[in-house]
């Protein structure tokens, strides 16, 4: 039987295929809990889980919070506006203080790439990365994979295109690492100014042509375009972006497969990277992603907390 050994979830790059599959399988068994009348199991009763969000988030934070609560863990939610960071304390010091309150896991979102890895090396509690800068957002990658597997029955051999601002996307990176490990063919597509240097070395195809990216794609994952990137001079206008890279029903009908799956990590800019008829259309599994997010996060919390307990028992 496979055993989960990792204390933390920092990213998908550092996981192997078996570990990713184990999370997805565990999530499958947890998904049903959320459909019950009583949406709660005692699995993590007595565990304390802290949600530490240094960046605004609605979806990811609520999803983690509900995941923890449905496993009966106690949660504490801290955001920048209420934290000591405003008082000049370093992230490390803040975390050490939180850890001193005997917590089992810390879910962290922060704008600095690498912060989850740094903390995982210096903390005894489990660290779960809920998005670090432009580096990784592993649970988003996992819930995307879970949704693809659920809808398509497999991941291996599928053609998956990721459209948009690849440079600044932690979602893109986690998807690429995870999907490649599970045998998918990944294409990234966006304007040249939003595709990071040497990304093909991650094993992906690169195209600047949306029709090219839509052709033969089994899944199209559309990323949110941040308005401030335009102001930073990375592309000329939202208008031109929408025309060249916005995914519309018309373009899908013209270039994409009939059974293409449309995904978006949210929040969407309707009318820019995705038209409403696509977001709400029959290809879209965007709300399934959100539903699955809870199951995947329950699986992650369960596995890392359990690894912790086993470590402690072994020490005894």
């Amino acid at each position: 039987m496979k055993v989960w050994t990792k204390k933390d979830l920092v990213g998908l790059e550092v996981l192997n295929k078996d570990e990713i599959e184990m999370i997805l399988e565990t999530a499958t068994s947890f998904k049903e809990i959320s459909t019950r009348q009583v949406k709660k199991v005692p699995t993590l009763r007595g565990k304390t889980i802290v949600l530490f969000f240094f960046e605004p988030s609605t979806r990811t934070r609520s999803s983690f919070d509900l995941a923890a609560k449905r496993l009966s863990a106690d949660t504490l939610s801290i955001s920048t506006s209420t934290s000591a960071i405003k008082k000049g304390e370093t992230v490390k010091d803040t975390m050490k203080n939180i850890e001193a309150m005997q917590v089992d896991a810390i879910i962290i979102r922060h704008s600095a790439s690498g912060i989850a890895q740094t903390l995982s090396n210096c903390m005894g509690s489990s660290i779960i990365n809920a998005g670090d800068g432009c580096h990784e957002h592993p649970t988003q990658g996992l819930l995307d994979m879970f949704t693809i597997k659920e809808k398509k029955g497999k991941i291996k051999g599928l053609n998956i295109s990721i459209i948009g601002d690849i440079t600044h996307s932690r979602v893109a990176r986690s998807n690429i690492w995870g999907l490649k490990k599970l045998g998918a063919h990944v294409t990234v597509c966006g304007p040249r100014t939003l595709i990071p240097r040497d990304i093909e070395k991650m094993g992906v195809n690169v195209t600047t042509s949306l029709p090219q990216a839509l052709k033969n794609a089994d899944v199209v994952n559309i990323l949110r375009i941040q308005m401030e990137r335009q102001k930073a001079g990375l592309f000329p206008s939202l208008r031109e972006y929408a025309m060249r890279y916005g995914v519309s029903k018309e373009k899908l009908e013209k270039y994409a497969k009939d059974d293409v799956l449309i995904m978006h990590p949210g929040p969407m800019n309707r009318g820019i990277e995705i038209t409403p008829d696509v977001a709400d259309g029959s290809f879209s599994v965007i709300l399934d992603q959100v539903t699955n997010g809870i199951a995947v996060r329950m699986a992650v919390l369960y596995l890392v907390c359990q690894s912790h307990t086993e470590d402690a028992e072994q020490e005894l």
Binding site: V91, I115, Q117, T118, G133, C134, P196, R197, D198
Partner: protein, 424 residues
């Protein structure tokens, strides 16, 4: 006071001596170099199996004083220098206040005299306050001991000012040390741009930020005929540009740092802020080109860019940490481990790069061993292996990516002006 360094392998770049000899030091000078020197009044240091070289000269050090004494002081930086075998260091002007007037220069020289360890030679700012607008009073600065001018840490974006700086400094025979960085191209960047920056999700700094400025400044040096010295070369293409410029007679010299010939961008994989440095650690191709440049003389010398930062500043998110690493204490060992051991330079060539060549660049009468020369001598064991620990650093700061590494080559004794300033 007299001292005989007995049976050392004396390596000297100027006279091309490489032989087992004794050196007699009398007062501040070298009195005699010969076999079997006997002098009953002299102390004797047994240097069998050790190398004696002219004391090392570092053209690029941040001593942080005045202004940032919590990172380093002239005294602590001088101690670090002696532990690394350096007897002369040039300190960069990005202090507070900036080294742009006689008062600051005189303060530094007097503080270094008080420390009484090594020669500290200030580098003046190219422009007042390093603001990039008006030339600093370079003639005044030279009169009180400035040996070069530089924009280090605050690159000059205005080419017209760089041109005037080269003309004016050239008139005074002061080299202009260029920190070659187009700050528009590098804006926001924290590491080398390439696969690693893509993977780590950190903003990259393209090589072009360096090479475009190296190219610009070489053209200005060609046009003005003045001496341009390129600081901390980090890119393959910069090495090519400097090589071609030298071939065409441009008055250009160049330095590289021990970290740029020892490490690649792969070192950043753990997000260790001690690997964050400007210019950034680059690819293996760049390291190879720098090694070739050292070998064929394109890169004249090794300079540490010793850049101390307090732990509280460095032990933060990678993005938030300041650029820079300390380098004085590890420079020789990195040169031996990564250049001499790998057959890129001979030990004699390494000594050229660390003593004689940098002295020539700033026109000081140092960097060689001869009768009558200043008794600035470094004795080291080229074979001794040691593990780098925090305890090995005399610098106030410990921000080295080499902590925990085992290196070869260790300074045993440093003599500056005839005085023992460091011994192990």
């Amino acid at each position: 006071m007299k001292l005989i360094i007995k049976n050392a392998r004396v390596i000297d770049s100027k006279s091309k001596i490489d032989d087992v000899l004794d050196i007699l030091i009398e007062g501040k000078k070298i009195a005699k170099i010969d076999k079997n020197i006997k002098d009953n009044d002299a102390d004797v240091f047994d240097a069998r199996n050790l190398v004696a070289s002219a004391g090392f000269v570092d053209l690029h050090v941040h001593l942080r004083e005045p202004g940032f004494e919590y990172k380093e002081t002239i005294l602590s930086g001088s101690r670090a220098a002696t532990a690394g075998g350096f007897t002369t260091v040039c300190c960069m002007p990005n202090t507070n206040p900036v080294i742009d007037n006689q008062g600051v220069v005189e303060f530094i020289i007097s503080a270094s005299k008080k420390a009484g360890l090594i020669n500290v030679l200030p580098i003046g700012a190219i422009t007042k306050g390093s603001q990039g607008v008006e030339l600093s009073e370079m003639s005044d600065l030279k009169d009180v001991g400035v040996v070069a001018v530089s924009d280090d840490g605050k690159p000059l974006s205005n080419a017209a000012i760089m041109r005037r700086a080269l003309e004016y400094a050239g008139m005074l025979k002061l080299p202009v040390i260029a920190h070659s960085e187009d700050t528009d191209l590098s804006a926001g960047g924290v590491m080398h741009e390439g696969y690693m920056s893509t993977k780590l999700g950190l903003k990259g700094i393209t090589r072009v930020a360096e090479t475009s400025m190296v190219s610009r400044d070489i053209e200005l040096a060609r046009y003005t005929g003045s001496h341009l010295h390129i600081a901390h070369v980090s890119c393959r293409e910069s090495v090519h540009l400097i090589r071609d410029a030298k071939k065409n007679g441009v008055n250009v010299s160049a330095e590289c740092t021990p970290h740029h010939f020892s490490l690649t961008v792969e070192s950043l994989v753990t997000y260790d802020p001690n690997t964050k440095v400007n210019p950034p650690l680059r690819d293996i191709d760049d390291v190879k080109a720098i090694c070739e440049g050292l070998k064929d003389g394109t890169i004249d010398c090794i300079a540490t860019d010793h850049a101390p930062h307090a732990e509280s500043e460095k032990d933060v998110e990678f993005d938030a940490a300041p650029f820079g690493m300390i380098g004085l204490e590890t420079a020789l060992a990195l040169g031996i481990s990564n250049l001499v051991e790998k057959g890129i330079l001979t030990l004699t060539q390494l000594m050229d790069k660390m003593s004689y060549n940098p002295s020539k660049i700033i026109n000081i009468n140092k960097g060689y061993i001869a009768v009558g020369a200043d008794a600035d001598i470094t004795v080291f064991d080229p074979k001794q292996k040691w593990e780098v620990t925090e305890g090995d650093f005399y610098s106030k700061s410990k921000n080295s990516p080499f902590l925990g590494n085992t290196l070869k080559g260790r300074v045993i004794l440093t003599i500056c002006g005839g005085k023992k300033v460091f011994s192990i």
